[in-house]
């Protein structure tokens, strides 16, 4: 292999991130217009209003956080039921040229929870077990709807934090003069997220990928000599799995498969698609708050950790695996990697997919070098706030920002407030739930898993890494895996479904409650005692809080897993 050139690669990565930032800035303005009703004119507006008439609602009819949460949970419950039923019935339904049978019920529960929660953890192999109808009307649908659910929550949280006007009694009111602890209409937000944001982007991305070699057909598998080549409607699934940070591959090999990700260029396009919406949401927040500095501050926190992670992963893989080098092999470790992506393409994809809650992979994370593999694990363990999932990344980092504001306030003796609204006990409780629930799930369930008979695919510290990665991935709704682990046993299937559901909905409900409580608060004008939450110092402080919470929670596990394995490798064991 021609050895990679770190300087060229650093320049290319910088250019890539510049493009992401530029696109996110532009797109954030569009998202802002969508949710303030600014694009609901002309033909799209007529279609949108027809939808509202059909289901019997209107944009003026807003809910408080309890109503919003209730609607969201019911909608996701319907989604789960429909997908579960489809998985059990796929054997007798059309668009099944390979004649695959039903999912067994346990796997179906796991897969349905997985796709509804935007996790896309997969205990089945797509090309073997899923019919084309399941891929389209099951998985693709939930890829859209779970991502849209995330956007809805994020937008509702933004409204809660930013709604300003107050009436004479000091209660918040909106322009129409109603008291607003109200944070929006879920049905309207859902409709707009799908029709205006995800659908047009997915359509364009799917056609772009199809033009480059991603397949899109309903053909039966093709026989070519001794080889049988799987087919299917791939591009339409891949486009939304990336844009929606879902990550569930059409094929078992996910975006390492040449039909999902055929060229070096599609690889960069795919990494870009993963980051686009999560990177835009902090700016959307800045626009909504009328304070772009606040959006930039949150974006800076994310970008700082992203760049450090990318650099770390790249350096670890560049250093390679000396145990393989001793055998007379030259170049970086290529186990689990594709030639066409190169080191930079692989590192960019692995960082992007675990910084967000995507979980699509273009290389097998289980076969990365010990420290290279620790980076994706750590990004997931930090709670996926580095861009994070579509929507979930934004509302989770708001949890961290609230904690950061509160601790800083305590330390310097100022009233903790964010955007002029006081942070009190109720908000802190909700923020702490958001910050800590995924970590508690990881530690508890990994502990139980380790007490059970082994399912790991690799011995020693790497086996521990596999277990921790699995529960980190499920609790934080990522979906990627150290896939040597056999996660098809009943414990992993059921505990995993629990982790995915709690890891998704506990932080979501907590942040909606926080939004409801903040929406009621009267903002106070900033005074000399106000802690500026958009300064470089505050950005550095928030980065520190995120690393501190993640570090304190997981340091022992990381030391016994990837770090111990690195020392073994370096010592030549």
């Amino acid at each position: 292999m021609t050895s990679p050139d770190p300087l060229m690669d650093a320049a290319a990565a910088a250019l890539f991130l510049l493009l992401v930032t530029g696109a996110a800035l532009l797109f954030s303005s569009y998202i802002h217009r969508v949710f303030s009703g600014g694009v609901s004119a002309g033909l799209p507006g007529r279609i949108e209003r027809a939808v509202y008439r059909f289901i019997g609602t209107s944009p003026e009819e807003e809910e408080g956080w309890r109503g919003y949460t209730r609607d969201l949970l019911i909608f996701n419950g319907i989604g789960f039921t429909a997908l579960f039923a489809l998985l059990l019935l796929q054997g007798v339904l059309p668009l099944n040229p390979q004649g695959v049978g039903a999912f067994d019920p346990l796997t179906a529960v796991n897969a349905a929870v997985s796709f509804v929660t935007n996790t896309n953890w997969q205990v089945y192999s797509g090309e073997v077990s899923a019919s084309y109808l399941t891929q389209m009307a099951g998985f693709t649908v939930q890829n859209f709807l779970s991502a849209a659910t995330g956007i809805c929550i994020a937008i509702a949280v933004m409204r809660g934090l930013t709604r300003r006007p107050t009436d004479r009694q000091g209660r918040s009111i909106d322009r129409t003069g109603r008291s607003t602890d109200r944070i929006g209409n879920f049905w309207v937000d859902m409709t707009r997220s799908v029709l205006y944001i995800l659908l047009p982007l997915a359509l364009a991305a799917a056609l772009l990928l199809a033009s480059q070699g991603a397949i899109q057909n309903l053909d039966a598998h093709v026989t070519a000599g001794s080889q049988t080549i799987a087919m299917g409607p791939v591009a339409s699934q891949v486009a939304i799995k990336l844009l929606g940070t879902n990550g569930g591959g059409f094929f078992a090999a996910n975006s390492a498969h040449p039909y999902e990700n055929p060229t070096p260029v599609t690889n960069l396009i795919e990494a870009f698609l993963i980051l686009l919406v999560p990177a835009a949401l902090p700016f959307t927040f800045g626009r909504m708050a009328g304070a772009m500095r606040q959006g930039w501050a949150i974006y800076a926190v994310m970008l700082t950790i992203y760049v450090a992670a990318l650099g770390g992963l790249y350096a670890a893989e560049l250093a390679g695996n000396p145990l393989v080098g001793e055998l007379g092999v030259s170049g970086i470790s290529m186990e689990g990697k594709e030639v066409r992506f190169g080191l930079l393409g692989t590192a960019l994809f692995a960082t992007s997919t675990t910084a967000t809650s995507c979980g699509a992979v273009d290389a097998m994370h289980d076969s990365l070098t010990p420290l290279g593999g620790m980076v994706p694990m750590l990004l997931i363990l930090l709670g996926e706030v580095v861009f994070g999932g579509v929507g979930s990344g934004f509302y989770s980092i708001v949890g961290f920002v609230v904690v950061a504001v509160f601790i800083a306030g305590l330390m310097i003796g100022r009233t903790p407030e964010f955007l002029g609204k006081k942070i009190e006990a109720a908000e802190m409780q909700m923020a702490v739930v958001t910050v800590l629930v995924p970590g508690v799930l990881v530690l508890l369930l990994s502990g139980i898993a380790l007490a059970l008979p082994g399912a790991t695919g690799n011995p020693g510290p790497h086996g521990l890494s596999e277990v921790v990665y699995a529960f980190a991935s499920m609790s934080n709704n990522n979906g990627s895996a150290f896939a040597g682990l056999d996660a098809t046993g009943p414990f992993y299937v059921l505990a995993g479904a629990l982790a995915m559901a709690v890891g998704r909905f506990a932080p979501a409900i907590a942040m909606l409650a926080l939004a409801g409580s903040m929406a009621e608060k009267r903002p106070v004008p900033p005074g000399p005692g106000t802690l500026p939450a958009a300064s470089p110092v505050f950005v550095a402080w928030t980065v520190l809080i995120i690393l501190l919470v993640g570090g304190l929670t997981f340091f022992p596990l990381l030391a016994m897993g990837p770090v111990a394995e690195y020392l073994m490798m370096a010592g030549g064991v």
Binding site: G77, Q216, I229, P262, G331, E338, S465
Partner: protein
Amino acid sequence: MKEPLRRAVLLFALLAVITGIVYPLAVTLIAGAAFPFPAHGSLVAGDDGRVIGSALIGRNFTAPFYFQGRPSATPVTAYNASHSGGSNLGPTNPVLLQQVAGRVQALREAGVADPLPADLVMASGSGLDPHISLDAALVQVPAVAKARGLPEEEVRALVMAEAVDSPFLGAYVNVLSLNLALDRKEGEHGAR
């Protein structure tokens, strides 16, 4: 409770039809009309018109007169294009090190000289990687030329002609395409 449930069912049904039926079928129709070749798998046909493989999907070449692709860890058989996947062996796993050592030895016995590029002895993530690095092709030139009874320079020139240069990856080669070119070349010299 009844009203939200009614709305949820209606909105779900509507969005499921749009995103799960209309959207994928629209992509299928447009892609099938605008890019029929890639949309149906970039399939390559032989002289008799039968499909011999896909330009994007690697296949298992084991004969000494062909360039080898990357090792493949797909289930059941190597290069199983109906069940993709990697080995998922960790970097310190003795099984991985044994496998690599075995492949190194096999290549040396086949007359391929050190140093061996990693992509030639380590399995790809998809198990279907259609490419090898240019270096991995070049180290195989003497062995393949000998098996074919072709001059080494001619085979090397063929490899260089097939190489795709890429600024960030180094050059790489599509193995199926290279082997087909090799067969055509030998055809010019007289059928084997």
